[in-house]
């Protein structure tokens, strides 16, 4: 297994399948009354978060705890040494000196996990870096889609919205393409980098003509703070042209899914009705995130052969 998980580029179809299969086995644990495995006992995982996060941080924390690892949460906020001007590198060295085995990092600067991986001996897991990647989100999305359609090969997925600034989009395009799905990126031209065609995705500016043909409509969060940059005229116009509302949902096939990485702006990229409809697997995405992150920690930190056996036992 890989030492660090920085980008979906590192994972081929076999590696992704292994992670998803392992997640499936581990999910059975979370359905038990006592939801804990001893696998990572004595190991320490640090959640190093330079950006606000609810679901990703909690999901990683819970995943590590369910595997019996010790967990440290470090948020670079007004209460930490970062507020006193401590640099990223010094923070990394401090964690290293305390002997952590893995650092789960979220950072607003694209590439920060790459840099971190050059400074420490611990495994680095990218939990979202700037506008670059969010690989564990892509893995949990692949898991959630596979759960419904069994096979990812040949599926048609539309990813709608602010692809330009989205780390979720970059990781998902790579992961979906690796697994043989066809991805179309949809949104206003100001939010879709034209270079995205070289990622193996196609680009469309209109959503309606695609809806009848797709298996998954994946909505990205409209980052409201981008409003000042004049990327589109107004949230109202965005919702009218690219928001998934009831009318548009009716155009989709009955078995087609609606997904969203959260947090949602209801009434902008997704209507309240759609988000709570039967097609929406948004909450499944969240709970699958736990199993997928357990799987990653297990494979990256505890992936010795004896533990491979342990996993088989547990799956029975």
């Amino acid at each position: 297994m890989i030492k660090h998980l920085l980008s979906m580029d590192q994972l081929d179809a076999d590696a992704i399948t292994t992670i998803l299969d392992t997640a499936e086995s581990l999910r059975q644990v979370t359905d038990r009354p006592i939801k804990k495995l001893p696998t990572l006992r004595g190991r320490t995982v640090c959640n190093l978060f330079y950006e606000a996060s609810t679901r990703t941080r909690i999901s990683f924390e819970l995943a590590a705890k369910r595997l019996s690892a010790d967990v440290i949460n470090f948020s670079a906020d007004s209460k930490s040494s970062v507020a006193k001007g401590e640099s990223f590198k010094d923070t990394a060295w401090t964690l290293e000196a305390m002997g952590v085995d893995a650092i789960v990092v979220r950072h607003g600067s694209s590439g920060a996990p790459h840099q971190l991986s050059r400074w420490v001996k611990a495994s680095v897991i990218n939990a979202g870096d700037g506008s670059h990647e969010h690989p564990t989100q892509a893995l949990l999305d692949l898991f959630s889609i596979r759960e419904r359609f069994k096979d990812l090969e040949g599926l048609k997925v539309a990813i709608v919205g602010d692809v330009l600034h989205s780390r979720v989009a970059r990781s998902n395009v790579k992961g979906l393409a690796t697994m043989g799905a066809h991805v179309t990126l949809v949104g206003p031209p100001t939010l879709i980098p034209k270079e995205a065609e070289s990622w193996g995705a196609s680009i469309e500016y209109e959503l309606d003509p695609l809806l009848a043909d797709i298996d998954v409509c994946y909505l990205l969060r409209v980052q409201q703070e981008r409003q000042s940059e004049q990327l589109f005229p107004s949230l109202r116009e965005y919702a009218a042209l690219w928001g998934l509302d009831d009318r548009r949902m009716q155009l989709m096939r009955p078995d087609a899914l609606v997904m969203h990485p959260g947090p949602m702006n209801r009434g902008v990229e997704i209507s309240a009705n759609v988000s709570e409809s039967a097609r929406s697997i948004i909450l499944d995405q969240v709970s699958n995130g736990l199993a997928v992150r357990m799987s990653l920690l297990y494979l990256m930190l505890g992936g010795h052969s004896e533990e491979g056996q342990a996993l088989e036992e547990l799956a029975v």
Binding site: S87, K89, S110, D129, S131, H132, R167, E195, W199
Partner: protein, 437 residues
């Protein structure tokens, strides 16, 4: 003063069309003679064994960081780095703290350069007070000061207001000053970390489009036409800008341009592992741009190779890419990169290379002591071995900073000896008088 005989070198002096195996005799700070069988009584004989003997290099674009950031570089340490890199003159950029926007600051920098005594330190003055692009700096007073400022620039940023550019250009004509531009439209470049293109989209980094440079280059060329002012475009980086300069020169506009070693050596793929040492402004561009820069240097569209030597403290460079300041060192790797990427592949001849590193920049700045090996001219001479290979080791740099993306690279072309006004400043690749720094 001592006499030196540089024996058996390949003497390259583009100003006189010389490229021949000969000896060079220096006496009392001037070049006495070029030839064979010279009367060299009492001269120290230095057998250069086929190495290239040429006029000392002149850098149009050096950030010395003094005054203000003496922890990163001083005028003395930059002079040492420059000499080691084969330079005998450098031009200090004005974006210091305080900004070189008045006679007192430019005179201070000039005087400290004289004191260091390893290279001539010419000084570029700011165009606007505090580099703010609004009020004109003391252009005339700087031109008339003992530093005799000739080049004026707000380098580090482009001047955004076209009317200000027009007025500054008109005013500069009185002093035969050069309006030098860092071509970058601030609104298009805002927040940019690298070249905008396929790599920036994939890496999730905000890009600076080629158009941000080209818009301003086109504007300045039009205003140079309007005002008759001399225009110099700093560190041009895109194929489009090369083409704009080519056309402007054909139209008779008084425009010159420089390009950096990193822009003819690297492309934006250097950012693929988010190395802050590859973050620079203007950014590393695409392969198409890089080859256009090489072609521009080859056909003379680009007059000079300039380093844009930009020292940064380790603790500032070794940050998240988003926070790391742009810029990289240049003085000590320029020749190696030029030989490796321009001379060795045959893009430039030896005399073409010396033209770009010495003759053209000396002429541009009006440094009559540099750029020529004519008998009687100042003995500013560089000797380099074009076949020697060496590995870039930042720890061995004379600069106070270490920020280079070329660490560990093997380069061809090494400076062995440098003479500044007849005094040997570098011998066998090392500074002669370590006490000087």
């Amino acid at each position: 003063m001592t006499r030196y005989l540089l024996a058996g070198g390949r003497v390259v002096d583009p100003a006189s069309g010389t490229d021949t195996t000969a000896d060079l005799l220096l006496r009392d700070g001037v070049i006495e003679a070029i030839g064979t069988g010279l009367d060299a009584k009492g001269a120290e004989r230095i057998d250069v064994g086929g190495a290239v003997v040429c006029p000392g290099f002149v850098d149009l674009h050096t950030h010395l960081r003094e005054p203000g950031r003496e922890d990163e570089e001083t005028i003395a340490s930059a002079s040492a780095a420059a000499a080691t890199g084969g330079y005998t003159a450098i031009c200090a950029m004005p974006n210091t703290d305080p900004v070189a926007d008045s006679a007192s600051v430019v005179e201070q920098v000039w005087a400290l350069g004289r004191e260091a005594g390893l290279v001539d330190v010419a000084v570029a003055g700011a165009l606007s007070k505090g580099l703010e692009g609004r009020k004109m700096a003391d252009i005339g007073e700087m031109a008339r000061s003992s530093a005799r400022v000739r080049m004026f620039t707000d380098d580090g940023r482009g001047v955004q207001d076209a009317l200000f550019v027009r007025r500054a250009m008109e005013y500069l004509v009185a002093f035969d000053g050069i309006y030098a531009e860092h071509c970058e439209d601030a609104s298009l470049a805002e927040g940019g970390q690298m070249h905008e293109g396929e790599r920036s989209a994939a890496l999730g980094l905000r890009g600076i489009p080629a158009a941000a440079e080209e818009l301003m280059a086109a504007r300045d060329i039009e205003l140079a036409k309007l005002t008759g002012c001399r225009l110099h475009l700093l560190h041009i980086s895109t194929a489009g800008t090369v083409e704009l300069v080519r056309r402007a020169k054909a139209d008779g506009v008084r425009v010159t341009a420089e390009a950096t070693p990193h822009h003819f050596s690297l492309t934006d793929v250097a950012l693929d592992d988010y190395d802050p040492n590859a973050k620079v402004n203007p950014p590393l561009r695409t392969e198409r741009d890089r080859s256009a820069i090489v072609a521009g240097l080859a056909d003379g569209t680009i007059d000079a190779i300039a380093t844009d030597h930009a020292p940064h403290a380790d603790h500032e460079k070794d940050q998240e890419l988003l926070y790391a300041p742009p810029g990289m060192l240049g003085l000590e790797t320029a020749l190696g990169l030029a030989v490796t990427n321009l001379l060795a592949p045959g893009h430039l001849s030896l005399s073409g290379l010396v033209e770009r590193l010495s003759v053209a920049p000396a002429k541009l700045l009006g440094l009559t002591d540099h750029g020529s090996l004519a008998a009687g001219s100042a003995a500013d001479v560089t000797v380099f071995d074009q076949g020697a290979t060496w590995t870039v080791d930042p720890a061995a740099f004379r600069s106070k900073s270490r920020n280079t993306p070329f660490a560990g690279e093997e380069l061809r072309g090494r400076v062995t000896d440098v003479f500044f006004r007849g005094r040997r400043t570098v011998a066998e690749g090392r500074l002669v008088d370590e006490a000087l720094v």
